[in-house]
C-alpha cells in the first residue's frame, strides 16, 4: 500500500487542515495536480488518434484542466485565511465538475462535438455555490455525450474515462469522469448529475459515495439539460460526510430555477453521527432481480443479479440491524420493472426537445460545408455534431411524442411514472404498512463491466440503471455507496432510497454503515491505479 498523500484526504479533513493553516490550499492543490499527472494520462479530445496501451492504464477523467485558475483560487483562499477570513466550508478543497455544467470562461462541451468550441458565458448555480464555499475547481471531467449512457464510453472526447480499480473496466456513467476522479484522488469532490442513475451507478462502479438529491433540492440552472423532469445535480465524494458537506453547500432555492424548492436546507452533517437505532429500513425482492422485456419472446423476463452484490446488500442490512435498525423484508415495489421502459419514453421526449437548440445557428459546431438552405444547415450540423447516442435518443423522442403516438407512449409513460411514485409513497407512508425510513437496494445489478463489453447495445446498457431509475421517476433521493469488493477486486455498490427532501436520513444511515464497516478488510484496499504510487 502506498503512502497517503494530501490529495487522498477527505474534503472534511482538507478543509480543517487548511482552516487551521496546517497546510495551505496551494499545497493541497499541488498534491492533487501531481496525482493527476501520475494517473490521469492525456485528457479527452476530439482528435485522440490511436488509443495506446499506455492510455489503457490511465484514468482519463478530464476533458479540460484549469490549473491556472485553480492556482489563483487556491492562492486567494490562502490569502483570505491568512487575513483571518474563512471563505467558506469547503475553502481550499479541490474538486471537479462534470462537463455538463456551464462554468464561465471555460469550455463546456457536454462530451459532444457539437459544443466543442463553446465557452460558457455564465456559471451554473451549483458551481457558483461551490466557488462561494471556497472550493477550488480542477477542471471539467468526462462523461457520456450529453450524459447519455452508463459507461462514459460514448463521449466524443477520447480516451474515455476508465475505472481506477481496473482500467480494463468502465467507470460507469454518465458521471464516470467524476467518480473516477474522486476514486483516484483527483479532487476530493466532484459535481455530477443523475437523470436515471448517472451519479449512483458510476459511484458504485468506482467505490465512492454518490448522492442523487431529491428532484428540486439542487438548482438545475446551468446544467445542460437531458431529461428536465429527471435531472438532479449532486455530490460525488469519497465518504458520506463529504457528500453531506457538499450537499449543504449546493442545495437550496434559486430564483433562476423555478423547480428548485424553497424548503430550507438543513446542515446535513449535523445529525450524521446519530446512528440508525429505531429506523425502519426495507428490503424489496423487486430489487434483487433484473426484469426486462424480451422483444423476441414478447415476454417480461427475469434474470438474477450478481451474487456478490446481493450478498453485499444482505450484509449491509445485517450491519445496520446490528446497529439497531429494524430491517423490514419483502417490501413490494411492483412497478420497479417498468422503470426502464418508462424512462426510455419520458427522457427521450424531453431530450429531443432539449437538444433542438443545437442547430449551428448561434453557438457550437456548425458544418463547414456551405449549406444550400437552412434545412441543410440544420441537417449537416446535427448529423456531424451529434454522436450516436443523442441521435438515437432524438429519433426515439420524436417518435414517441408525435401526435399519432403520444397517447400510446408518452402520455402512458407519464401515467406509469405516477404509479412508480405510488410504490414509494406506499412504503414511506407513516400510517402505512411499511413506514420505512429508507429502502436498501443494490445500486447496480453487476459490478463494473469491461470496456467495450456493453457499449453499442443501448438497451442492455440502460439496464445498468434499473435500480436507480425509479428514484428519478419518483423524484426521491438516493445514496450510493461502496458495500464491499468482488473477488475481482471491483467495488460492489449498495443504494439507500429515501423520502422526499430527507437526504439527512440517508446520509445518517450511510454514515452508520461506514462506522460499522470501518475495520472491514475491503476498506483497506485501494484502487489499482494508486498502487505502487509513492
Amino acid at each position: 500500500m502506498s503512502a497517503m498523500e494530501l490529495c487522498d484526504l477527505s474534503a472534511y479533513e482538507l478543509a480543517a487542515l487548511i482552516r487551521k493553516r496546517e497546510i495551505s490550499a496551494v499545497e493541497a492543490l499541488e498534491s492533487t495536480l501531481e496525482r493527476i499527472e501520475l494517473v490521469d494520462g492525456r485528457p479527452g479530445s476530439l482528435d485522440a488518434g490511436e488509443i495506446t496501451a499506455e492510455d489503457h492504464a490511465k484514468v482519463h477523467a478530464f476533458i479540460t484542466r484549469t490549473e491556472e485558475t485553480a492556482r489563483a483560487q487556491a492562492q486567494a483562499v490562502d490569502k483570505s485565511i491568512s487575513e483571518g477570513v474563512i471563505p467558506g466550508p469547503l475553502a481550499g478543497v479541490p474538486y471537479t465538475v462534470k462537463d455538463i455544467f456551464n462554468v464561465r470562461g471555460t469550455r463546456s462541451t457536454a462530451g459532444s462535438r457539437i459544443l466543442s468550441n463553446y465557452t460558457a458565458p455564465y456559471t451554473a448555480t451549483a458551481v457558483e455555490r461551490m466557488e462561494k464555499a471556497g472550493a477550488v475547481m480542477l477542471g471539467k471531467v468526462n462523461l457520456d455525450e450529453f450524459t447519455h449512457g452508463s459507461s462514459s464510453e460514448s463521449s466524443a472526447y477520447q480516451p474515455a474515462p476508465r475505472n481506477p480499480w481496473d482500467t480494463s473496466k468502465v467507470p460507469g456513467g454518465s458521471s464516470g469522469g467524476s467518480t473516477a476522479a474522486v476514486a483516484a484522488g483527483m479532487g476530493a469532490l466532484s459535481l455530477g448529475t443523475d437523470t436515471g442513475g448517472s451519479i449512483r451507478q458510476p459511484a458504485a462502479f468506482c467505490g465512492v459515495v454518490g448522492l442523487k438529491p431529491t428532484y428540486g433540492r439542487v438548482s438545475r440552472y446551468g446544467l445542460i439539460a437531458f431529461g428536465s423532469s429527471l435531472d438532479c445535480p449532486g455530490p460525488v465524494a469519497r465518504n458520506v460526510r463529504d457528500a453531506a458537506m457538499m450537499l449543504s453547500v449546493i442545495a437550496g432555492p434559486d430564483r433562476r430555477d423555478s423547480t428548485a424548492v424553497t424548503i430550507p436546507v438543513p446542515d446535513y452533517t449535523a445529525e450524521i453521527e446519530a446512528g440508525v437505532k429505531g429506523m425502519r429500513i426495507g428490503l424489496s425482492p423487486d430489487f434483487f432481480k433484473i426484469q426486462y422485456f424480451n422483444h423476441e419472446s414478447g415476454q417480461m423476463e427475469e434474470e438474477p443479479i450478481s451474487d456478490e452484490i446481493k450478498q453485499a446488500v444482505e450484509q449491509a442490512a445485517d450491519r445496520l440491524s446490528e446497529m439497531g435498525a429494524r430491517v423490514v423484508e419483502n417490501v413490494p415495489m411492483p412497478r420497479t420493472k417498468y422503470g426502464i421502459p418508462t424512462y426510455f419514453v419520458i427522457s427521450r421526449v424531453e431530450v429531443a426537445s432539449n437538444l433542438h437548440r443545437f442547430d449551428g445557428v448561434k453557438y457550437g459546431y456548425r458544418t463547414p460545408v456551405p449549406a444550400e438552405d437552412l434545412d441543410e444547415l440544420y441537417r449537416r450540423t446535427r448529423a456531424e455534431g451529434f454522436g450516436a447516442q443523442p441521435k438515437l435518443r432524438i429519433l426515439m423522442g420524436m417518435y414517441v411524442s408525435a401526435a399519432q403516438y403520444s397517447e400510446q407512449y408518452y402520455q402512458r409513460a407519464l401515467r406509469v411514472r405516477s404509479l412508480i411514485r405510488g410504490d414509494f409513497e406506499r412504503i414511506y407512508d407513516p400510517q402505512g404498512e411499511y413506514r420505512l425510513d429508507a429502502l436498501l437496494t443494490p445500486a447496480t445489478p453487476t459490478p463494473a463491466f469491461g470496456y467495450g463489453d456493453v457499449y453499442g447495445d443501448t438497451v442492455l446498457m440502460q439496464y445498468a440503471d434499473q435500480f436507480t431509475v425509479t428514484g428519478n421517476h419518483a423524484g426521491v433521493p438516493g445514496l450510493s455507496l461502496m458495500g464491499g469488493l468482488s473477488k475481482e477486486r471491483l467495488p460492489l455498490g449498495i443504494q439507500l432510497l429515501g423520502r422526499d427532501y430527507d437526504e439527512a436520513t440517508l446520509l445518517r444511515i450511510g454514515r452508520a454503515f461506514e462506522v460499522a464497516t470501518e475495520d472491514a478488510a475491503w476498506r483497506k484496499v485501494r484502487p489499482q491505479v494508486l498502487e505502487g504510487l509513492s
Binding site: L223, L355, R357
Partner: protein, 478 residues
C-alpha cells in the same frame, strides 16, 4: 344575383406592456433599440438555462380573460411547441396548449345598426414571442430582442361577417387593452398583431367553406382593406366556378395587395408536451382577487352609463369612453362642475380633445386638472370671461399649470360687463363709421356682427359680446 356572406375569425397576438420579459429579467420593450441589445443567456437559449415566469404576465392575462368574460383557470400549464427556426433560439416556443390560463369568453361588439355581434373567443393563452430574422447583404441576420417578450394569443370564433366588423372588433379590442393597461396595442409597432381567416358562403348556409389566412398586416385600416379584397376575390372565384384553396396570403402594404405565401399542406406536428422547467401556474383565490381588486368598469358599460346617468348623446358617450383616462377626466370635471354634463362634454369634445391630440397627451397628463376645467367653465357661465377667453384660458392653464382664476386676475381677462364702458366704446364706433351705420339702417342687418366685432376688438376681447349687441342695437336702431 347570388348573395354571399363572409365568415371571418381573427387570430390576435397581444404584446403585453410588462417591464420585463416573460421568463427573464430583460427589458421587454425593445422598440428603437439596437439588435440583440436586450438579451441574456435565458432568452437567447444558451445551453443550461431555465425559464422563470414573470407574475405580471399572469396578472395581465387574468385581467384580459375577465374582460373577455372568459373562465379563468385556477391551474394552468405551459407547454413546449417544438420546431426549428433561427428566430427561435431554444428550438421550441414556450406556450400554453391544452391547459391555458382561460377558457371560453366573448366580446359584445356594437354594430352601427344598433345591434350587437357576440364574438366568441376560442383560445386565450400566454406565450413567449420569437425573435426576428432579416436578409441583409446576402446574409441572414437574427435579432433576439423580441425573444421572450410576453404575448397573449387570443383567437376568435368565425363570428365576424364583414371587413368593417373586423376593424370594429380590433378597435374595440385595442380600446380594451389600453383601458386595462395590458398592452400599448399599437398595430404599427406590432404590439397588436392580427391574422384573419376568411371564407365565404351563400347567405343562409350554415357550414364552413375552405378559408384563407391573411398575414403580415400592420394596421387596422390595412386589415379592413385586405379582408375586403379577399372577400371580393373569393366571390369572383366562386362565381367563376373555381374552388377556394387553403392559402396563406401575405399583405403587401406598398401595393395594397395580397399574394400567396404558401399552400397550407399538412399540419405541422409540434409535438407539444408540458414544459418540465416550469411549475403549474396556480392562481389561488387570494392572488386572483388581488389581481381583480381594482378591476375597472369596462368601456362599453361606461358608455352605456354615461348615456343613462348623464343624459349624454350616444355619440358623446362613445367618444368620451374611447379612452379610460378621458372618461375618468370627464367624470371628475363633471363632479367638480356640478352643472349640465352636456356642457362639460362639449368642452371636452371640442377643446380638450384638440389639446390632447395636438400635444399627444392622455387626459390624465393634463396640467388642466378636472378642477381647473370646471372652474374655467364656471367663469364662462358667470360671464366673468367670455367663451373665446375661456378657450384661450384653457391653453394658458395647460402651458403654465397655474389656477385659472390667478391667470384671469393677473392678466385682467375678466369680461367687461360694465354697460357704461361698453356704451362709450359702442358710441365711439357708431360715430366713427357713419357709412356702415347708413347701410345698417338701410337694411343690411348683417353688419351687426361687424359692429360687435369692433367693440370686442376695442375692448381687447373682454367685452361681454351679448351686452355689446344689446347696446349696439339700441344705438343703431334708436
Amino acid at each position: 344575383m347570388t348573395e354571399y356572406e363572409a365568415i371571418i375569425g381573427l387570430e390576435t397576438h397581444i404584446q403585453l406592456n410588462t417591464e420585463t420579459k416573460i421568463f427573464c429579467a430583460c427589458k421587454a420593450d425593445s422598440w428603437g433599440d439596437p439588435a440583440n441589445s436586450n438579451i441574456c443567456p435565458v432568452c437567447s437559449g444558451l445551453p443550461g438555462v431555465l425559464p422563470v415566469l414573470n407574475r405580471a404576465v399572469v396578472e395581465k392575462a387574468v385581467l384580459l380573460a375577465k374582460a373577455m368574460h372568459a373562465e379563468v383557470q385556477s391551474d394552468s400549464y405551459f407547454d413546449r411547441k417544438n420546431y426549428f427556426y433561427p428566430d427561435l433560439p431554444k428550438g421550441y416556443q414556450i406556450t400554453q396548449n391544452d391547459h391555458p390560463i382561460a377558457l371560453g369568453g366573448y366580446m359584445d361588439l356594437p354594430l352601427p345598426d344598433g345591434g350587437t355581434r357576440k364574438v366568441g373567443i376560442t383560445k386565450l393563452h400566454m406565450e413567449e414571442d420569437a425573435g426576428k430574422t432579416k436578409h441583409e447583404h446576402g446574409r441572414r441576420l437574427v435579432d433576439f430582442n423580441r425573444c421572450g417578450v410576453p404575448l397573449i394569443e387570443m383567437v376568435t370564433a368565425p363570428d365576424l361577417r364583414s371587413a368593417d366588423e373586423v376593424a370594429a372588433y380590433l378597435i374595440r379590442l385595442r380600446q380594451l387593452l389600453r383601458w386595462l393597461d395590458i398592452s400599448e396595442a399599437d398595430m404599427e409597432k406590432g404590439h397588436l398583431r392580427a391574422d384573419a381567416n376568411v371564407s365565404i358562403r351563400l347567405k343562409g348556409e350554415t357550414g364552413l367553406n375552405e378559408k384563407t389566412e391573411i398575414k403580415n398586416v400592420n394596421s387596422i385600416e390595412s386589415l379592413r382593406t385586405a379582408v375586403e379584397k379577399e372577400i371580393a376575390r373569393q366571390i369572383r372565384e366562386v362565381e367563376a366556378g373555381n374552388a377556394i384553396e387553403a392559402w396563406t396570403l401575405d399583405w403587401d402594404e406598398d401595393t395594397q395587395s395580397l399574394s400567396k405565401m404558401r399552400s397550407k399542406e399538412t399540419m405541422a406536428d409540434y409535438r407539444y408536451f408540458k414544459e418540465p422547467d416550469l411549475l403549474v401556474v396556480r392562481l389561488d383565490e387570494a392572488w386572483e382577487s388581488a389581481i381583480l381588486a381594482d378591476f375597472p368598469e369596462l368601456p362599453l358599460a361606461r358608455r352605456e352609463r354615461f348615456v343613462r346617468e348623464y343624459g349624454l348623446p350616444e355619440y358623446d358617450a362613445d367618444i368620451l369612453t374611447s379612452e379610460r383616462s378621458l372618461s375618468d377626466y370627464f367624470e371628475s370635471v363633471n363632479q367638480a362642475y356640478g352643472g349640465d354634463p352636456k356642457r362639460v362634454s362639449n368642452w371636452l369634445m371640442n377643446d380638450v380633445l384638440r389639446l390632447l391630440n395636438e400635444q399627444g397627451l392622455e387626459a390624465k397628463d393634463l396640467k388642466v386638472t378636472p378642477g381647473y376645467l370646471a372652474e374655467i367653465i364656471k367663469l364662462v357661465d358667470a360671464n366673468t370671461i367670455n367663451t373665446p377667453t375661456g378657450k384661450a384660458l384653457l391653453e394658458k392653464v395647460q402651458q403654465t399649470g397655474q389656477p385659472p382664476k390667478e391667470i384671469v386676475e393677473a392678466e385682467g381677462l375678466a369680461q367687461v360687463s360694465d354697460t357704461g364702458l361698453i356704451r362709450e366704446i359702442a358710441a365711439r364706433i357708431v360715430a366713427e363709421n357713419p357709412d356702415s351705420v347708413e347701410k345698417f339702417r338701410g337694411g343690411k342687418e348683417g353688419l351687426m356682427g361687424w359692429f360687435v366685432g369692433q367693440v370686442m376688438r376695442e375692448s381687447k376681447g373682454k367685452a361681454d359680446p351679448n351686452l355689446a349687441r344689446e347696446v349696439l342695437e339700441e344705438l343703431l336702431k334708436g
